[in-house]
């Protein structure tokens, strides 16, 4: 029977077939962070249960720690220190590898899980974090769970779940100038709604994806959860194998044999998906969100939809309160809308490629006065490499703060937020109400759009600056 990439991996990990019940699935790697991982370990300890295979469990600090230079365990987050010290203490007690704050391998879990070669093609990895889907870019199943399921995985090396339906999202063609994978996902989610992927595992394919560098593929898979998908995945190719070779935890033996095996993981030509979506890359433009859900986005030169164009009554009501919160009006254009702050960071857009492309725009430019602009590289390794290339200087000379790695202002991590009613252009993944601080108006965009807008002091597409 022809199978999809996801099905091949799922089936090879199935310990017990559930029939009408969930399957019992073997989990290759578990990644923890101090906010939810500390919970899971504490609960295991209280129940006197053990971690079944500590060699396959890794932990980092990213959700609670702050990102100020010279940081330690103290954060602005009330009670935050306790999460950090608990994570450290329990990692030691359970014999789990922890990439602590001062470790050169430290960073946001989804970045370092790839950087360290912990996630491999054809594997299933879990983390008590919804953005675990990011790792699908390596041809793995990234399965985001809550604390209880994580505890289950720690104690048993398994998760139980019903195999999701299969969806194939194909992007074909060349991307327009200034278009980033972030724009591709905002386009997809706007078109098919924030719950459009609900119940599905999504395979991204098409020549746009094949041509895409590996780092950009992480952004694509990262936003699968914003589409409500079970996960996002891309068939592993030479770029993936090259990326993983000689990483610290990558296998050292039989590399060519492994590649042979991983290559077989691609979906069969005649595999049947439950749903197909095809998108022409040339239809995508640099985009920005105007509302409180990632589905509420428009091309930067577009206009916010008018309420009377929407048919659903309840939706109208939401729209009014959304627009009131955002300080915007029906039919308004976002182009030229003044901003108070700019943020480049998060598991979505804080890799070297992201920082390089933003630096290209920032070089020999200054951000608009009175704007607070912050960049947090996604990992210590990204930060080090960026600094070797002089990217930190470009950011700082432009007027950006250059921070330590962590989740940072994506969601008030480290107890740090923007101020009420401040308008922020941000390279993160969620424009939820109050996500970046109470009353904060967040506009999601790609790192190049964020960089260009920071210079302009208002929302502009990236080409505005590059063309100057």
């Amino acid at each position: 029977m022809p199978l999809t990439l996801f099905e091949k991996i799922w089936n090879s990990h199935r310990i017990i077939e559930g029939k009408n019940q969930p399957d019992l699935i073997y989990i290759d790697r578990i990644f923890l962070h101090e906010r939810t991982g500390s919970f899971a370990l504490k609960s295991l300890k209280e129940r006197d249960l053990s971690v079944k295979n500590p060699k396959h469990v890794f932990a980092t600090m990213d959700h609670i720690i702050d990102t100020f230079p010279g940081r330690g365990d103290e954060t602005l987050m009330p009670g935050g220190k306790k999460f950090i010290t608990t994570m450290r203490y329990l990692a030691k007690e359970f014999n789990i590898t922890l990439f602590d704050i001062d470790d050169p391998r430290h960073g946001i879990s989804h970045l370092i899980s790839a950087e360290q070669g912990i996630t491999l093609p054809g594997s299933i990895v879990t983390c008590p974090d919804s953005h675990t889907c990011t790792l699908g870019a390596l041809g793995a199943i990234g399965w985001g769970v809550g604390s209880s399921d994580c505890e289950h995985a720690l104690a048993t090396t398994t998760l139980s779940g019903i195999k999701p339906k299969q969806m194939k999202v194909t992007f074909n063609g060349k991307l327009n100038e200034g278009v980033n994978p972030k724009d591709m996902m905002l386009h997809l989610i706007e078109k098919y709604s924030a719950s459009g992927g609900s119940g599905y595992a999504i395979e991204f394919s098409g020549d746009t994806i094949h041509m895409m560098p590996i780092e950009n593929r992480f952004t694509l898979c990262n936003m699968a959860v914003e589409f409500s998908a079970f996960t996002g995945i891309i068939a592993p190719d030479q770029k993936v194998f090259k990326y993983l070779k000689d990483r610290p935890y990558s296998p050292t033996n039989n590399w060519s044999e492994n590649i042979k095996h991983w290559k077989c993981l691609a979906s069969d030509d005649d595999a049947v998906f439950d749903k197909y979506i095809e998108i022409n890359a040339s239809d995508i433009y640099p985009s920005v969100t105007w509302g409180l859900s990632p589905e509420e986005s428009i091309p930067i030169n577009g206009k916010i939809p008018r309420a009377n164009n929407l048919t659903n009554h309840e939706k109208n009501k939401d729209m009014a309160s959304t627009l009131e919160y955002m300080g915007l009006k029906n039919g308004q254009s976002l182009m030229g809308l003044p901003i108070d702050a700019a943020f480049i960071g998060s598991c979505t857009n804080a890799r070297l490629t992201d920082l390089r492309s933003a630096a290209k725009i920032l070089k020999n430019n200054k951000i608009s006065p009175n704007i607070k602009a912050i960049c947090t590289p996604g990992s210590a390794d990204v930060k080090k490499q960026a600094e070797q290339e002089g990217i930190d200087k470009i950011f700082e000379d432009a007027g950006f703060q250059w921070r330590e790695p962590g989740c940072s202002l994506c969601f008030y991590a480290g107890g740090e937020g923007f101020l009420p009613q401040q308008r922020v252009i941000t390279s993160t993944n969620r424009n939820f109400r109050g996500r970046q601080g109470n009353g904060v108006r967040s506009h999601l965009a790609s790192p190049v759009t964020v960089a260009a807008s920071a210079i302009a002091g208002k929302i502009v597409p990236p080409q505005t600056i590059t063309k100057q």
Binding site: R47, L120, G122, P128, D129, A194, E314, G415, G417, R433
Partner: protein
């Protein structure tokens, strides 16, 4: 929570689509490594009135702050309830407040799983059924009592309309028997170990 008999509770309508777990409990409200006391942070953006970033009092207009709804145990919402962050604190905060059931058009996957793991019942009804209940409650708050029969898979409104719902038999079993997920799987440890033994040979690259 004993789900073997009918449950009757006060229902609070919060009919907004895409209520994410950041709304249910913002990051800044997750202050301790404990599941208790999280109700203080439940819907914090709506529960309180703020001046700058400081809470200065309760928001009287928020439904769960209204007298008739302050003892709600059932929440009625729209599409994609609990989407976003995987934080299980969202479920613990709802439970800490006293919520036993969430009825919505659809749910975020991880949130729905987290509910099942903590004995919180999630019920999916159609938009029309949800709006029917909403209208009924808007007409008179006396209509806010709803009856839930898990065994019969039935929601019964105050005017005796019966809405059937589907539930994963596995989750139903867990709710009815109060089974522990981990204990349940640990009973299968022999099967897991024999899988592992074979897998170490078959996929040696995956084992450290």
């Amino acid at each position: 929570m004993n789900w073997s008999s009918a449950f009757i509770g006060v229902t609070a309508p919060l009919l907004i689509d895409n209520i994410d777990t950041d709304q249910i409990i913002p990051s800044r409200e997750m202050k301790t490594i404990s599941k208790k006391g999280l109700k203080k942070g439940l819907f914090a953006n709506w529960q309180y009135v703020y001046a700058k970033r400081k809470k200065i009092g309760l928001n009287k207009d928020f439904i769960l702050n209204k007298k008739e709804f302050s003892h709600s145990s059932i929440l009625l919402s729209g599409k994609n309830f609990g989407c976003g962050s995987s934080r299980e604190h969202a479920v613990w905060a709802l439970i800490d407040f006293g919520i036993k059931v969430v009825i919505a058009e659809s749910f975020g996957r991880i949130f729905k799983n987290n509910c099942a793991r903590n004995g919180l019942l999630t019920i999916e009804l159609t938009r029309m059924q949800i709006e029917y209940i909403n209208k009924l409650i808007k007409k008179s708050t006396n209509n806010n009592l709803i009856e839930i029969h898990l065994r019969r898979k039935m929601v019964i409104t105050s005017d005796n309309k019966k809405f059937a719902f589907n539930i994963d038999p596995f989750v139903m079993g867990i709710l009815l028997k109060g089974q522990d997920f981990i204990e349940n799987t640990l009973l299968k440890e022999k099967v897991i170990d024999s899988f592992l033994k074979k897998d170490k040979i078959k996929r040696s690259w995956a084992h450290l």
